[in-house]
Symmetry: C2
Subunit: 350 residues, 2 copies
Amino acid sequence: MARVTLQTIADRLGVSRATVSYAFSRPDQLSEGLRQRIMEVADELGYAGPNPTARSLRLGRAGALGLIFSETLAYAFADPYAIGFFQGLATAAEDAGVGLLILPLPHGDRRSETVRDAVVDSFCVMSLPDGHPALAEVFARKLPVVVVDEPYVPGHLFLGIDEPAAAAAAARHVLRLGHRRLGVAMVGLHDDGYTGWATQERQESAAFEAMRRRRSGYQQACEEAGIDWSGVPFYEVARNSREAGRKAGHALLGRDPRPTAILANTDVLALGVLDAAADLGLEVPGELSVVGFSDSAAEEAGLTTIRQAKQEMGAAAGRLLLSGATAEPERLTFPHELIVRTSTAPPART
Amino acid sequence: MARVTLQTIADRLGVSRATVSYAFSRPDQLSEGLRQRIMEVADELGYAGPNPTARSLRLGRAGALGLIFSETLAYAFADPYAIGFFQGLATAAEDAGVGLLILPLPHGDRRSETVRDAVVDSFCVMSLPDGHPALAEVFARKLPVVVVDEPYVPGHLFLGIDEPAAAAAAARHVLRLGHRRLGVAMVGLHDDGYTGWATQERQESAAFEAMRRRRSGYQQACEEAGIDWSGVPFYEVARNSREAGRKAGHALLGRDPRPTAILANTDVLALGVLDAAADLGLEVPGELSVVGFSDSAAEEAGLTTIRQAKQEMGAAAGRLLLSGATAEPERLTFPHELIVRTSTAPPART
DNA sequence: GACTCCTCCTTAATCAATTAAGACCTTAAT
DNA sequence: ATTAAGGTCTTAATTGATTAAGGAGGAGTC
């Protein structure tokens, strides 16, 4: 049984293909009788409706927004920050009646076909490491693109927060509370699976721009407060999971002298640090202060964190891409806010 | 500046369109020199690469799997159970190198174009109420379809758990512990936004099949234990949120006599019930037992629940659709498991 | 009766590619 | 010298629709 197309129906009825097309797309162009006969025959032949791909080609629009994310999709769906952003983006897509095409970018096996063959009208790219081939492939498509968080590419639309300022705000908060012995736990600096202490050089050469800048915000705030950054223990983990945070927490809290405050660059990591503190019987915030980042999983745990308007960012990204208004390339900076909860307090007097 | 196509490049170089196509898709068919010249000219003219839509049309495959979900996307992304399923599905899509096209199905404004125009090779439909128009539209596309959880449509591939058995297991657990005064909190029965006590008739006429069957499992277990179902307070909420669960919890716990055990048909709802218990100063499990469903947000809170293999279900759905093997329509039932944690215990002696 | 105006349908161009089959030329083997 | 074999490129059919422009016929108006 061959495929049923408009032509099949047209032939069967002895009318032109155009007529059948009108039956589906503009019923008012046809007499009611013929339209009904067409529909009957379509039904009878098992016609699946106008082929969407052919339609897309003819109409010049795909009806979808492509989303590219550095991680495996399962991982992306596990990240509360990403989920929040997706929600905003999805809402914008929904409002515009277009689909959201989530494109996989397998680690290691970076096939370029994915981006090249994606049937979309625009791309939203989120958190790619510097120089990731997918970015070049996206730009090669010459479609509207917005890059979120990282990397910033001059001449292209960019959405993000003021990373150094936000990170500095987190650090200053504990510094003002009087903490002098800090520890830092970060994920997403590199793409190489490394977990362990990070040298200064490794810190500065991070492949992910936003995290690199976030880190520099921590450093700057410390140095402003007269703290020698090279003396601040810095633990890097490969995955943004609570378990990884716990590992980082144990590493940091195992130092002598023990840090009295730990800065984590995600909430999930911070929750893991809290787990480690609980393992060691340390009271929070009495014996240890912890600050997260993103306000994505912080509320329940009473975690002090930096709030980012992730949903608003997603919605804005979607609107910019879907509005059709070819906004001139811009760097849009979204606000952040320090949310103080119960995971931070002045250090215990020694 | 007109659009650059293969033809533009061909004309510029005085070669045929086919040659240019080969330069991109099968470099070995061309002399190295010509191929390079073609690439240079393509670059110079700002060619964006072979148009994916045209490619799709010619090749007869879209390279995407369509995902349809009854709720707004923002809501879907907020549901841990859905997220778990997405993770599995996304992993399968990733393995196959295809995209995941998430299709919006706006509440109220149910435009049929979304499904009709989706450029996909197959559909995964999740949790649609009985008779939802999108379902018919999906089947009209004559593409491979798998329906997850609800509604079961004979003759089409279906994935789900044994809902009545799973629900009965949850109910029997507290019944065996000795509870006699139960309360039930459910979400997702109807599509009409109602929140409040649900009559027997309303319970049985639920639009969502899986939830309807889940409820019947609760009822059956109760009746087996000699409990009069009509005496079991049943509170229905419109949204699967912790806040809604708290509301249901307050309603149920405000009854006299107060239930000693509450069955909730999602973990999120159950967490809200726990919140309500905390509000009232009730000890769990001392004064109140709570059972959730899905094991999607239960571990942290020590919630007793029914575990579903959501990721495995997602992965299986993806594999079935992407394997190309036109599996004969089947009803695949996945296992469930009662996970007993610390939110259930025998009732206090009165 | 001639004119205009509709209504309904057809013609034909267009969207942007892929690919089997064939043509042409060069090289190598017999 | 002839034939076969390769390598390189072209021809032309194909994928499945949309839509502006035009034509045929009937109805309404003067």
